[in-house]
């Protein structure tokens, strides 16, 4: 049974349609990335799944329950890391985790969780003295302390420097090995690509692509072959790079020419993403 099922989910804010019927399933133990620009509907989707917002249409199930109706027992089994995580500034890292651990029946071991998110050195430091990245890791720790089966991570690394992002990625990878089901939202492509088993690309409240990161790159823009002919740049875009390249090189060989500046580029996930999410009509 999937850990999370979303069917024809709709949500409007006044006249604005934030979600226009989205569908996806997340298997137990899967890391699923929800990717899209700001305003695409990522946070609306996640907050409906977390039970914070009511949906206007469609069905949603998280661990077999409807988040709108689920009780406190259900909350024992989920972990939430909000986009803007708030912390008690005057507590230490250890005290913060002990406070939240006390809310759960089967919490994780506080020191293990501190170790996992890499805050062991800051264990007894007041929260207000932590750096932005360290606070975000404490956020993550608080989401994990209840030992959840499903973890929601809403933009876990926004605002991080590259080193802090890599550190956070390692934490999330180690969660995957613990068998947690993770729903991750991000507007960073490399993040979705690095961490997720599958990715859904959201644009204007609709899913425009869904699949493994590698499959997504097969779905879209063409491979670009560039070379120079008589000093002029030539660009060939094709979905059949093997055939086109073979023709080009055979021709050049037969004529005894060199294909100056020959390059073959597969589109990066970045370009695929931009192609998928760019405004209609452009």
């Amino acid at each position: 049974m999937p850990a999370i099922t979303v069917t024809d989910l709709h949500k409007s804010y006044g006249a604005y349609e934030a979600l226009r019927g989205i569908d996806f399933e997340i298997e137990t133990g899967e890391v699923f990335g929800l990717l899209g620009p700001n305003g695409a509907g990522k946070t609306s989707t996640v907050e409906i799944l977390e039970g914070y917002r009511r949906r206007d249409g469609g069905t949603v199930s998280v661990l077999g329950e409807d988040p709108e109706l689920a009780g406190l027992d259900w909350r024992q089994r989920i972990g939430v890391v909000l986009q803007s995580g708030a912390l008690y500034q005057n507590l230490t890292v250890l005290e913060s985790l002990e406070l939240f651990a006390g809310y759960y029946e089967r919490p994780g071991h506080v020191d293990d969780v501190i170790e996992l998110v890499g805050l062991a050195e800051k264990r007894d430091a007041r929260v207000r003295t932590l750096s932005g990245g360290q606070k975000r890791r404490l956020d993550l720790a608080l989401g994990l302390i209840g030992n959840p089966e499903v973890l929601f991570l809403d933009e876990p690394t926004t605002g991080f420097d590259p080193a802090a992002r890599r550190a956070a990625w390692n934490v999330i990878r180690s969660l995957r090995t613990l068998g947690k089901t993770i729903l991750l939202t991000t507007h960073y492509l490399d993040e979705a690509e690095q961490l997720s088993d599958r990715v859904a690309v959201l644009r204007e409240g609709t899913i425009v692509a869904i699949g493994r990161p590698a499959e997504l790159s097969g779905a879209a823009p063409a491979t670009e072959i560039r070379y120079q002919l008589n000093g002029e740049d030539v660009l060939v875009s094709t979905h059949e790079p093997t055939r086109v390249l073979h023709e080009l090189t055979s021709e050049a060989l037969a004529e005894g020419r060199e294909l100056e500046g020959l390059s073959v580029r597969r589109p990066t996930l970045e370009e695929i993403y931009l192609a998928l999410t760019e405004e209609r009509g452009e």
Partner: protein, 251 residues
């Protein structure tokens, strides 16, 4: 019950750790009492045969309940709401009612310590002659703390931002404390201010304090004042239950 004790302990830790909050809501009324009493304590209140010290004690118990249970609680809850802490708490299996009751009881504990400090100071340092019905005093203090806590929670709903919370709360509770006679007797005010004072819950709480702490009344013999305080508390409770929000305003 274990959850409740856990939250109550945590709230106490959070309160005393937050030095700004502990200073303004706990220490400040005590300081103000010492200052005012040192200056005006020996004056005699017109028409009464008591020292101003005695009146000030009752007034400061009122100021203390307004600053701890009303102002302090409102500011803390708005800050927690707007920063997203309340939203985070809602994501956990902690029942929302357990959380709120622990927050309120923690405030009551702080106020109880404050009231004890004020009374001990009055008696030992300023030589105030107490004629106190102790069981009635405990009941009256509890009634005041709960009523003002309910009003404080009700006040969180119309406040829009964490930055604005202190300003809004101070603009309400400081004039209220002044008009209700926290610092002097309200009988000396001009008529129109007296009319306003006659509506405010703190006026009645301070009246109740004077009766119970200084005049050997019971809470039952001063029931009119107690009923007004309780009625305000019930109004606050109804508003609080109807309008309390857990999530910050959407950016």
């Amino acid at each position: 019950m274990k959850l409740f004790a856990h939250q109550l302990r945590s709230e106490q830790l959070l309160y005393w750790r937050s030095r700004e909050l502990a200073f303004f809501t706990f220490l400040f009324p005590v300081m103000l009492f010492v200052l005012l009493d040192s200056v005006y304590g020996d004056d005699v209140i017109k028409g009464e045969h008591v020292k101003a010290s005695a009146y000030l004690l009752a007034g400061m118990l009122g100021y203390g309940v307004a600053s701890t249970a009303f102002a302090g609680l409102a500011i803390v809850l708005v800050l927690r709401r707007e920063s997203g802490i309340l939203k985070r708490v809602r994501a956990t299996p902690l029942p929302p009612a357990t959380y709120l009751v622990a927050v309120i009881l923690s405030t009551v504990i702080v106020f109880a310590i404050e009231a004890a400090a004020l009374i001990i100071l009055a008696r030992l340092v300023f030589d105030v002659k107490l004629a106190t019905q102790w069981p009635s005093l405990v009941l009256a203090l509890l009634l005041g703390a709960l009523s003002f806590a309910a009003l404080g929670i009700a006040l969180t709903a119309p406040i829009r931002s964490g930055e604005g919370s202190s300003a809004v709360v101070n603009a309400i509770y400081l004039p209220m404390a002044f008009l209700s006679g926290s610092f002097v007797s309200p009988h000396e005010y001009p008529r129109f201010l007296e009319v306003i004072a006659e509506i405010l819950p703190l006026t009645y709480f301070i009246r109740l304090m004077r009766d119970v702490v200084l005049r050997n009344h019971t809470i039952w013999s001063s029931w009119e004042s107690a009923v007004v305080v309780a009625a305000w508390g019930v109004c606050g409770l109804v508003l609080a239950v109807r309008s309390f929000r857990w999530a910050p305003r959407e950016g």
